[in-house]
Structures are given as structure tokens and as C-alpha cells.
């Protein structure tokens, strides 16, 4: 079977959870041929992953030099104007019933892009003028007066976002988009061109992440336009997908609210390779809370450090060890916080480690303090190693540590606390630190559940079945 795997900013050019997942997926199915369509920044990004022989990749740069071609004229120009002004009206209307019309406009623009340069058309003066006129016809919030600069910025963002729509997709048996948003554009194009079915996997929630990233740095009119577009695009992605496979059940809330049909959603959990994460063995000699991941504000290490300071008041012998590289400024801020709280000598930033398993081995209890997660590898890896955990109630965390449905009497595999709540996190950590029997029991049931539900073989096996099921479903 030939599968087009569409990624954005991840495999095979970057590291991270989603890239690990892609690598596991393609390596797990050597019987299929994978053509990775990687949406990248400039197209000059080096490969971060070595790809096996049955996998090829091509880069679709969103931000590189504009694709070739001149602006349209005559009938083509009028056709573009009709489609583009409709697009702007639909975005600005914010109407919840705009979905079907948006799908039609997107298809018009796709058809236009087959004969003319969509990028050149969008980079001409017309779209800027039409957007300023469309803004002028609407009542905007108090104090909002869009400028020509706003219009130029918004149209440029749209032009870049639209580039994957005109990318010539190869005929395949299935398109697998590894997130919503611009990643579904090649999937839609393949569907329109060849009737190729498509599967949409979401680890996080694309739209939610864009709301957070566009929330800062853009003026209100630009933000409203681009987020309005992405909201409609994500809805179109959910509606056109033949199957939606989120990495956790928690994601379904957003997906259904944004237009997905509940019957077409099937959760497929991430998995770890049990051979890479054998049982951690004896606990470290000194009581230790360990954390592993990318040092970044989204991991809310401040709450972790605050909670540790509370733990320290009760049990001064405990150590907090943090494993992983990342944002240097944020690390310094966290180190400063630890010093201010008087626990600077007990909080150790260990940096990157060769084997992430060492981070779990080093902890009596493994901590996760994130304010946003999909289905975190850190947690299921710690579970596979047989370490108990304290984690925040985000994404699929509760699903991961909930009691094994096959042996509910064994209880939960870890403790879950509200995010941004140092007291609750400290309380949970103290419960585990003070009770060796509980730790041993939780570690054991965690490992058993991970091996039963969260292995690579299961994740890959699920997709093997899904591919078979969808490939016979040509439209």
C-alpha cells in the first residue's frame, strides 16, 4: 500500500514526541511504502531522522521563496476574486454554519491553483484591497482600526498557509495527516484529485495551540482573521476525514465541538517499546523526585519547584532532579525561583541525558507538571519502567494513569493533581514519598498497564488495521 504521511514541523526534520510517533509508525509497517510530505519552514532544514528504505520524504516549505508564477489576468483573475472575497466574507462572518460554504470555496481555490499560481494571485494588490474593504463593512471591537499593514500581514499569513494546497500530491492509497490545520490541505487535494481516503491523527489539538500562539504578537484584526481561517480549516479537516484518531480521549471534546462527528473518532494511544524501558529496579538511595522533558514554560516547572519547596519543608532530605535540555532563559528563571524559595541546593538541572530511561531510574517518584499535554511519552515511559508518578490533570494524563480496566481493584497507576496547584502536587508527592508500599504497588500496576495498553506494537497494530479498513474506501 502507498501511504502519504503529511507532517508539519516534525518528522523527519525535528525531534519531539510527534516525530518519535511517526518514526515508530513507519518502521512498524515495512510492508507499506511511505511518502512523507513534510511541511517545513524554509525547506533548508536538515533531516533529523534516518529514514528506512521504504520511506521517502519531500519538503513543502511554507516560508521559503514564493513559488513561481505570475498573477492571474482576465477571466482567471475574476474567478480568483470571486473565490477569495467569498473566503474573506466567510472568515469574517464567524458564522457557525459557514462550514459547507468554506469547503466549496477551498475547493474553488484548489481548482484555481491547478492552472494558475495561487501564491502569486494572493501576493497581488487585490487581496489587500478586498480585505480592507471587508473590514470596513464590519463592526469591529472598540478601538480597532485595521491598517494597511494589518491587511498585508494577514494576507501574507494566508498566502503561506495556502501553499500546501497547490503542492502536486502523488496518487496514493491513503493520506495520513499527522495534525489538523494546514497539514490537511494536501489530504484534501488528494481527495479531490484522486478520491484518496484520509486519516487524521491529532496528538495535541492544533486549533487550541494556534489560539495560544497567535494570541500574542499580532494585532486584533490579524489575529481574528488568521484564527477565523484556521477554525474553518480545522472544521473542514474534521468533516472531510474518513477517520479521526486522536492520541487520547480528552482531545475529543475539542474535536467534536469544532465539527468532528463523534462516530468517526477512534482513540489510538501512543506506545513505548518495552525493550527500551525495562523495569527500573531498586529505588535510588536518596528519596528523589525526578522530571524528564523539554525545559519550556508549557511544562510549568515553576509549579513543580514551588511544590518541591513545600515537600522540602516536610522532608528536607528529598532531592528534585530535572532531566532535559530546552529553553535556557526559562531554566535560569526556574533556578532563580528555587534559590528564592531556599531550595536551590536541592534542585538539580541535569541537562540532556543519552538514555531517557536513566531519568526514571533516578527518581523515587516521577513528576509531570505540564499545563498542556496530548498523551505524554514521559508518563507512559515512567509507567513502563514501573515508577509511580504524580502528574497534572491535562490531556490524556487521567486516562493513562486510571486503573487498569482489566483489574480495576489494583487501583490507579499514579496520582493526578490539578495543574498550577503547588499545594495539591506537594500533597500527592508526600503521600508517595512517605509510603514505600504504595509506591511499589503503584509502580507494579503502572508497568502492567503500560505493557498491556501502551506499547508500540499495539499502536502500530491499530494503524495497520485502520489502513486496511480505509484503503478500500475510495470516494
Amino acid at each position: 500500500m502507498n501511504i502519504t504521511l503529511v507532517t508539519e514541523g516534525t518528522y523527519p526534520h525535528a525531534y519531539g514526541g510527534v516525530s518519535v510517533w511517526c518514526d515508530q509508525l513507519v518502521r512498524g509497517m515495512p510492508e507499506h511504502t511511505f511518502q512523507v510530505v513534510a511541511l517545513t519552514g524554509t525547506g533548508a532544514e536538515p533531516l533529523a531522522w534516518e529514514m528506512p528504505g521504504h520511506v521517502t520524504a519531500e519538503s513543502v516549505p511554507l516560508w521559503g521563496a514564493r513559488p513561481a508564477g505570475g498573477p492571474p489576468s482576465g477571466r482567471a483573475a475574476r474567478r480568483f476574486e470571486r473565490a477569495f472575497t467569498s473566503l474573506l466574507e466567510l472568515i469574517l462572518s464567524g458564522s457557525p454554519t459557514a462550514g459547507a460554504q468554506f469547503h466549496a470555496v477551498l475547493r474553488d481555490l484548489y481548482e484555481f491553483g491547478r492552472t494558475d499560481s495561487l501564491s502569486a494571485a494572493m501576493s497581488s494588490e487585490g487581496p489587500v484591497e478586498w480585505l480592507l474593504e471587508a473590514w470596513g463593512r464590519r463592526t469591529l471591537p472598540e478601538g480597532v482600526h485595521p491598517t494597511v499593514y494589518d491587511a498585508l500581514t494577514a494576507i501574507a499569513l494566508l498566502e503561506h498557509a495556502f501553499r500546501p494546497l497547490s503542492w502536486p500530491v502523488a496518487r496514493a492509497d491513503l493520506t495520513h495527516a499527522v495534525s489538523n490545520g494546514v497539514t490537511v490541505l494536501p489530504a484534501l487535494a488528494a481527495k479531490w484529485a484522486y478520491g484518496t481516503p484520509f486519516c487524521l491523527t491529532e496528538h495535541g489539538i492544533y486549533l487550541r495551540e494556534r489560539y495560544l500562539s497567535y494570541g500574542k504578537g499580532y494585532t486584533w484584526p490579524v489575529k481574528a482573521l488568521i484564527l477565523g481561517f484556521l477554525r474553518l480549516l480545522c472544521a473542514a479537516g474534521y468533516q472531510a476525514a474518513d477517520l479521526i484518531t486522536p492520541g487520547n480521549r480528552y482531545n475529543q471534546r475539542w474535536e467534536v465541538r469544532c465539527g468532528a462527528t463523534a462516530d468517526l473518532i477512534r482513540t489510538v494511544y501512543n506506545g513505548v517499546d518495552p525493550a527500551e524501558f525495562p523495569e527500573a529496579g531498586p529505588e535510588p538511595e536518596r528519596l528523589t523526585l525526578s522530571w524528564a522533558g523539554r525545559v519550556d514554560p508549557i511544562k510549568d516547572l515553576e509549579t513543580l519547584i514551588r511544590s518541591f519547596a513545600l515537600v522540602h519543608q516536610e522532608m528536607p532530605e528529598v532531592l528534585l532532579r530535572l532531566f532535559g535540555g530546552g529553553n535556557k532563559e526559562y531554566r535560569e528563571k526556574c533556578e532563580g525561583l528555587a534559590r528564592d524559595l531556599g531550595v536551590g541546593g536541592h534542585v538539580v538541572f541535569e541537562g540532556r541525558v543519552e538514555e531517557i530511561r536513566d531519568a526514571y531510574v533516578a527518581g523515587t517518584v516521577v513528576m509531570l507538571s505540564s499545563i498542556s499535554e496530548g498523551f505524554p511519552y514521559t508518563l507512559i515511559e515512567a509507567m513502563a519502567c514501573g515508577r509511580p508518578s504524580v502528574a497534572t490533570d491535562v490531556g490524556g494524563v487521567t486516562e493513562a494513569v486510571a486503573a487498569n480496566p482489566n483489574s480495576p481493584d489494583d487501583g490507579d497507576c499514579g496520582l493526578v493533581v490539578p495543574p498550577r496547584d503547588p499545594e495539591a502536587m506537594a500533597m500527592a508527592a508526600l503521600i508517595l514519598l512517605r509510603d514505600e508500599d504504595l509506591r511499589r504497588h503503584m509502580g507494579m500496576v503502572a508497568r502492567r498497564k503500560a505493557l498491556e495498553f501502551f506499547t508500540v506494537d499495539q499502536a502500530v497494530g491499530s494503524f495497520r488495521e485502520i489502513y486496511q479498513e480505509l484503503s478500500g474506501k475510495k470516494v
Partner: protein, 462 residues
């Protein structure tokens, strides 16, 4: 256990929505829709479970309630930073343009110094042709250097430009001299000119203006102080050596900057190389348009008025002003985008800025030309004055188009003008001065029309 722990957290059982609304006021007043509020709440750790403590079934409903209860009043945005506005004190920035103008003009004194060595009739032609052929190399290298994403990359390309450009420019100087039967003195002077052009270009792009000025002093002072010929030549030798050392110093890539940089190519791809070609071609066309009457003279069309050399120096000095105009226009264009609420308003204002800046440049160039030509015999001076004023204006407009990424327009216009001038000379053979003046007038008029149309677009100023 999970449930117990979550509820056992030390906090009130119900939470105050008004308090939350106040805490999240920036998010609420600036949100584009309810989903943005939902995303913002979740990012603060407020999920369905906590939403229930606020009395709502889930976080989506809590967000809808908060959104409905506030008025949209986004914070006033700060103006986007203007990438064209320079940093530092205004007088330093403007002084730099004046200094660069002087640096463009000062080497003209070198021709006075070497005049006694250039007895042959063909000497001027050899020097001019060599000069015109050096420009595309130095312009192309400069464009390539500016296109590098890092300063180390820029310096490496400049160094490669010196390493390969100097031998290339020297070889073509020797070849031209040999073809036209020049003596060794003429060929040596031509080679020195090539060496200077290539190294000075690297030093200037490397930002060594003040040092360049100091390096030029020995040659210029010796020339105008009326010192003996040998001493003057020695002065210019010091200048040449100084500029060469400056170029080598400003193009050095430190060891720690070399990581990942292919030193043999400076990381330049074929695409980047192709992108620099229009700038090189423009250098060639500009050189040919400026030296048109000088080259014609050697084709048997009569010597150009003596004012021509003086006009060339004045025009070179005015390039400093031209650089100021380019930046001023881009700065104003970017600023206008942010204060214009309609496209028509922007187009009107930006065209006005264009006309205003071109007029200022022409006025300053007229003063420079007038001053320079006043020292030369009056024969044909008015024609030279008008011709070089229009040529200066046309080259400024072409550079403005180029700086906005419109290289094709300026190349086509300059190429057509040169082709027309050459064909008129070949077919009708009138006075070259008249042909150059007419060509400059037509080129200026057409480029002004193109610039008003193209530079008046908002998308040009992106």
C-alpha cells in the same frame, strides 16, 4: 485515589467567577471568540473539573459565560518595529552617508595622480573598460554578501570575492590592455584600479568607512599638495595597501564562527548565486551608461567635454545621498503602512514621499554637479550637467526599484536605454553627448513612471 486527591486540595469548594474574570481580563477583552478564551483557560490549568467548581459543566461553557460577560476592547497594539529605521544618533547615521559619498568620490583624485603615466591615447579607454567590467563583479559579490543570513557568512563571501575577484579583475585588465596595445605602465595602473575596486567594495560592505577614509588620505593629500610624482605615487601605494589590509581584516571569519560553514563556498547555493546576477548586470549597465561618451570618444566620435570627468566624480559623491534616500524611502513606506487605513490613502502618501525624496536628491546632485563643473571649461558643460543630473536621477530610481525587490524592471529599462543609445550611435552617429542626454531623459522619464506605479503598491513595501 485520583478523585480523592483532586478534591482534597486545600481550596474553597466553589470558586468566584467574577474573580476569575478579573484575573483573565486581558484575555477576555482581546479574545476573537469563545474558543480563544477556552484555550486561554486551559493553558492556565482550568479544565472541565475546575470549571465545575465555577458552576459550569465544562470549560467551554465557563469560557462562553466569561466571554458574554465582557466587552471586547483589545489593548492598543504597539507599532511594529520599522526594519529600515536605523539605530543610534541621527547625526551619526546621516554623517555616515556623507562619508560614504566622499569615499565614492575620493578615488577620482587617483586619476589626476596617474595622468602623467597615461601618455597613450588608448589609456583612458583601457581604464574605463576595465572599470566598467569590474563593477558587475563587485556589485554581484556585494549583493551575494548582503544575502547571507549571518555576518560570518557575509564576511566569508566578501573574502571569497577578494580571493577570486582580484585575480579575475586583474586578468581582464591585462587582457584589455594587451588587446588595445597598451604599455606596461597603463596596464599596471589598470590592475591597481581593479585591485582597489574589489578590496574597497569588501571593506565598505564590511562597514570600515572611517578606516577607509584614513586609508585614502595619503593618496588624496599627496595629489592635491602638489608633491613630486614619485611621492604622490608612493602615497597612492600606501592607500592601496591600506585598503587591501582593511579588506582582509574585515572579511576574517573567526574559528568559532566556522562551525557548519562550508569555507570553500561560504554556504552560497546556486539559487543565491542566481539571485545576485541581476545586481551584477545592473553594475555593468550603469557603468556603460555613465561612461558612454568616454567610450564613444575612442570610437572616433570626438572627445567628450572636459566637464565629463568632474561630473563623474560629483555623481559618485552623490551615491552617498542616494543610499540615504533608499533607506529614507523604505522607512517612510513602512511607517505609512502602519498609519494608513485605506489603500488609496497609502498610495497617495507613498507616491508623495517618492517624489519628495527624488526631488531632494536631484537638488543636491545639481549642487554637486554645478560645483564640480564650475572648475572645468564651459564648452559643453550645460549638456554634461543636464545629462548627468538625469542619469543620476535614473540610477537612483533604478536602485529604489531594486531595493524593493523589483530588479527586473530596472534592468529592462536600463538595458533598453543602453541598446537604444548604441544603435543610434551605430546607425546615425550624431554627437555622443546629445545621445547620452536624450537617453538619460528618456530613461529617467520611464523609470519615474515605473517607480510611481510599482513603488506606490502596498505589496511592494511588505
Amino acid at each position: 485515589m485520583t478523585e480523592t486527591l483532586l478534591q482534597a486540595a486545600p481550596r474553597a469548594k466553589t470558586r468566584d467567577v467574577a474573580e476569575l474574570s478579573e484575573k483573565m481580563i486581558d484575555l477576555l477583552t482581546g479574545a476573537v471568540d469563545v474558543l480563544e478564551v477556552t484555550a486561554g483557560l486551559e493553558a492556565e490549568g482550568i479544565g472541565d473539573r475546575i470549571a465545575k467548581e465555577y458552576g459550569h459543566d465544562d470549560v467551554f461553557r465557563l469560557a462562553a459565560f466569561l466571554y458574554a460577560g465582557t466587552i471586547r476592547r483589545p489593548a492598543q497594539p504597539q507599532a511594529a518595529p520599522n526594519p529600515w529605521a536605523g539605530t543610534g544618533k541621527t547625526w551619526v547615521r546621516n554623517g555616515r552617508y556623507v562619508l560614504r559619498g566622499l569615499l565614492f568620490g575620493m578615488p577620482g583624485a587617483g586619476y589626476v595622480a596617474v595622468a602623467p603615466l597615461l601618455g597613450q591615447r588608448s589609456a583612458g579607454l583601457v581604464l574605463t573598460l576595465s572599470l566598467v567590467l569590474c563593477w558587475p563583479i563587485s556589485q554581484g559579490v556585494a549583493a551575494l554578501a548582503y544575502s547571507r543570513p549571518t555576518m560570518a557568512g557575509t564576511r566569508r563571501v566578501l573574502r571569497l570575492g577578494v580571493l577570486y575577484g582580484v585575480p579575475l579583475a586583474t586578468a581582464q585588465s591585462v587582457l584589455i590592455g594587451w588587446l588595445l596595445g597598451s604599455g606596461s605602465a597603463v596596464i599596471a595602473v589598470t590592475c591597481a584600479q581593479s585591485l582597489y575596486l574589489m578590496t574597497a567594495s569588501a571593506a565598505l560592505v564590511g562597514g570600515a568607512e572611517v578606516w577607509m577614509f584614513l586609508a585614502l588620505l595619503p593618496g588624496v593629500v599627496a595629489t592635491f599638495a602638489g608633491l613630486p610624482g614619485e611621492v604622490t605615487l608612493a602615497g597612492w601605494a600606501v592607500t592601496g595597501l591600506g585598503v587591501l589590509l582593511l579588506a582582509l581584516d574585515r572579511t576574517r571569519v573567526a574559528k568559532d564562527e566556522r562551525a557548519g560553514m562550508p569555507m570553500s563556498t561560504g554556504g552560497v547555493s546556486w539559487i543565491a548565486l542566481r539571485a545576485a546576477v541581476p545586481y551584477a548586470l545592473f553594475g555593468l549597465l550603469a557603468g556603460a551608461l555613465l561612461t558612454f561618451t568616454i567610450v564613444c570618444a575612442y570610437g572616433g566620435y570626438g572627445a567628450p567635454p572636459e566637464a565629463t570627468s568632474a561630473a563623474m566624480v560629483a555623481l559618485s559623491v552623490s551615491m552617498g545621498i542616494a543610499e540615504w534616500v533608499l533607506f529614507a524611502f523604505r522607512t517612510r513606506g513602512h511607517g505609512l503602512l502602519q498609519v494608513s487605513f485605506g489603500l488609496r490613502e497609502f498610495v497617495f502618501e507613498v507616491r508623495l514621499a517618492l517624489i519628495d525624496l527624488v526631488a531632494r536628491y536631484l537638488a543636491l546632485l545639481a549642487v554637486l554637479l554645478g560645483a564640480a563643473i564650475s572648475f572645468t571649461p564651459p564648452d559643453g558643460a550645460v549638456g554634461v550637467f543636464c545629462g548627468y543630473l538625469l542619469l543620476g536621477g535614473a540610477l537612483l530610481l533604478a536602485l529604489m526599484l531594486q531595493s524593493c525587490g523589483r530588479t527586473k524592471e530596472s534592468l529592462v529599462c536600463c538595458g533598453c536605454a543602453l541598446a537604444a543609445e548604441v544603435s543610434v550611435m551605430v546607425t546615425v552617429s550624431p554627437d555622443p553627448g546629445v545621445v547620452q542626454l536624450s537617453g538619460a531623459l528618456a530613461l529617467f522619464t520611464v523609470l519615474l513612471g515605473v517607480a510611481v506605479a510599482v513603488l506606490g503598491r502596498a505589496t511592494t513595501h511588505q
